[in-house]
Amino acid sequence: DQQVKQNSPSLSVQEGRISILNCDYTNSMFDYFLWYKKYPAEGPTFLISISSIKDKNEDGRFTVFLNKSAKHLSLHIVPSQPGDSAVYFCAASAQRGGSNYKLTFGKGTLLTVNP
């Protein structure tokens, strides 16, 4: 039973355009969400996060939007650059309770930004 779903295994966009990566979750206990980026043969690196008390968080070219009622979040990258080509993982945790360190990941979306 997948609690965090990334339904698009891959996404291809042109350099300079917007990349939108989507993520859905089913567990209503999740209240903190993160995006990680992973290059081949490297470990994932933290990109951006959002708490459920917000609906938007922005960091440079990266913006994460959260729609709690739809249990949906998305990562927007504007403008997309070839160096953004990587696998992007959505992850979630439940801050309430004693296991807030435990992250539940989606399967990832491979983003390819074409020059």
Partner: protein, 115 residues
């Protein structure tokens, strides 16, 4: 070293053999995590160590899996009597503490192949 170091990078083992995977966290990081990523899947939580507290082993898939962390630093994940379904990339991460887990740094992983 500057980052989380895992060894070996790759391990091929015969079904039924035991394997040990090693993780050297970033110096001073008290929290250490093990995740695994099976083919086509997201990262799956295995175990969490925080300082001298009892580890959270709730993610270990079977009693063939065990992990220890000696001296609050190096960690070893042991898989006994390996099975083909154990084939995956095993990722270790560390962070300054359990309230800083979003700043967890991942190693490059150990790719385990059970033949």
């Amino acid at each position: 070293g500057a980052g989380v170091s895992q060894s070996p990078s790759n391990k091929v083992t015969e079904k039924g053999k035991d394997v040990e995977l090693r993780c050297d966290p970033i110096s001073g990081h008290t929290a250490l995590y093990w995740y695994r990523q099976s083919l086509g899947q997201g990262l799956e939580f295995l175990i969490y160590f925080q300082g001298n507290s009892a580890p959270d082993k709730s993610g270990l898939p079977s009693d063939r899996f065990s992990a220890e962390r000696t001296g609050g630093s190096v960690s070893t994940l042991t898989i006994q009597r390996t099975q083909q379904e154990d084939s995956a990339v095993y990722l270790c991460a560390s962070s300054l503490g359990d309230r800083r887990w979003t700043e967890a740094f991942f190693g490059q992983g150990t790719r385990l192949t059970v033949v």
